[in-house]
Amino acid sequence: MRSNTVGWLMLAPTIAILGIFGIIPFIYVLYVAFHQWNPFGASPDMIYNGANNFRRLVFDAEFLTSISVTMKFAFFAVASEVALGYLLAQLFMKEFPGRGFFRTIHTLPLIVAPIVVGSVWRLMTTPSIGIIPHLLKSWFGYDLNIGRDPTTAFALTVIMDIWHWTPLVTLTLLAALLALPKEPFEQAQIDGANRWQIFWHITLPMIRPAILATVFIRLMDALRTVDEVWMLTSGGPGAATRYVGLHIWKIVFPKTDYGYGAAISVIVLYLTLVMCWILYVSLVARRERKRTF
């Protein structure tokens, strides 16, 4: 057995960097969450007000709405991205001419910065000057107006997110599929397993860790999306796309209510953590149980 010291040494730089840039700011935000503070106002002092920020939050209808729309957004976006991403990764596993070229093309959305993605989608969909409403109108007679219809605006943010982030899922799952050993598949085919059986009993269990990691990362990123949605809809119409990241942004910057923003951040961080933890424990525990049989 090799000594664990080497293992700790390999982890040390990661722990040090994340400790310094992760934990210190977090402690600070936690501290601020118990204060009333407007650092840009006339009296920039922090005033201790106990758990008032947290109490206020429970009755804040805007905050509660933003949580529920964020969850809906994260669910629809991440579920579609994982399903679509897996399908595309499988398609890339086949041999066909121009595969590398198409793979590069399919990755392009990822390399567009979020603020640019939001801006372009806005220019494409703004009524009267956007190409998409224009085409929908002249081809199908359908009137698309994201400024008026909450459902369309919500759907559009989901579609934009799918466009931007499915390539990430495809890439990570493709890397996982490429790393799989070939023998079990050949064996299963010799044994006469059909496509669905191979998927369900061999592929899925073997790439489950990769799927889990991808779902996690997409989920937490979807829960804190700001730039893209801000550029596309600014949270409107009404509160239809006012996702929690945007809500925090609006409280901290235009309203400069820093203490309250910090309290919301702590709660959102806590909720994200709990959600991810439950997902992680249930899925990992299931995998471990299976392994013992």
Partner: protein, 278 residues
């Protein structure tokens, strides 16, 4: 595998590529239009190309500086993150460290923080805490390279771990029996087999660092200002200079595309070398 006509896949991908490319095509369309034309009835195809936006952008020395900063920061960050994550994943996968699963989970919590509130603590750290006399971490490339680890390092660890875990431990053991040191196992057994995963991690962390906006906008002013932030300077409260913004955006795609094509080859190379044998 029962092989179907590969042309079906080509046709399918052509169709998918149209959908994928459309917003990028539109970005290009915006970048080659004079501002007044943007607010007329749109047409799908261009009838005239107006290169003035590109000429302005390429002639702008400040923007060229931002571009160079972006390249340095993203490349150093991606290399640092991938190296650290590779070591960390190897440790998590091969050593029996007490509490390692908790550490693994803790790393990802660093990516969950809503950015808006965490900007100010970072700003204070960079301007008041990490200082040496006159020197501050604020507006330095090294500061941004380290800071981007907070969201890139957890990502890299989480995407790399399944790959490292997927490499059979028997391979390490066989190499160790043959007299290889830990370092030799890592460099000669694990590294070649983990190449597809490492390539994907490298490119994605590079892209995340390249596209990051909020932190760069808050924590840099000139010396370490990145191109995404430079681009956002065209989005102002009084209106957006769409043409200039779009042309910078199109230009920023080029380095990313080059890096991607280079690394892409390694993903494919990983396919031929990465056949894991039991």
């Amino acid at each position: 595998m029962p092989s179907r006509n590969p042309l079906i896949y080509v046709a399918l991908w052509l169709l998918l590529s149209l959908l994928t490319l459309f917003p990028i095509y539109w970005l290009f369309v915006i970048s080659v239009k004079p501002a007044v034309d943007l607010f007329t009835t749109p047409s799908l195809f261009l009838d005239a190309i107006y290169w003035k936006n590109y000429v302005n952008v390429i002639g702008n020395e400040t923007l060229r500086g931002y571009m160079l900063n972006s390249i340095i920061i993203s490349s150093c960050n991606a290399l640092l993150v991938t190296t650290l994550a590779f070591l960390a994943c190897y440790a998590l996968s091969r050593y029996d460290l007490p509490g390692k699963e908790n550490i693994f989970f803790w790393t990802i919590t660093n990516r969950m923080a809503p950015a808006a509130v965490f900007l100010l603590p970072f700003f204070l750290l960079f301007t008041q805490v990490f200082t040496l006399g006159e020197w501050k971490l604020y507006d330095t490339k090294i500061g941004m390279i380290l800071l981007y680890c907070t969201f890139n390092l957890p990502f890299a660890i989480w995407t790399l771990r399944p790959t490292i875990d997927g490499i059979p431990k028997e391979l390490d053991e066989a190499a160790t029996v043959d007299g290889a040191s830990t370092w030799q196992v890592i460099s000669e057994v694990i590294f070649p087999l983990a190449r597809p995963g490492l390539a994907v991690t490298l490119i994605l962390t590079w892209v995340f660092a390249w596209n990051e906006f909020l932190l760069a906008a808050t924590l840099t002013s000139f010396n370490a200002r990145t191109i995404t932030t430079g681009l956002s300077e065209y989005v102002t409260t009084t209106g957006t200079e769409w043409g200039a913004m779009a042309s910078i955006a199109v230009i920023t795609l080029i380095p990313a595309l080059i890096i991607f094509s280079v690394v892409q080859r390694h993903i494919v190379a990983g396919l031929t070398f990465g056949a894991v044998k039991e």
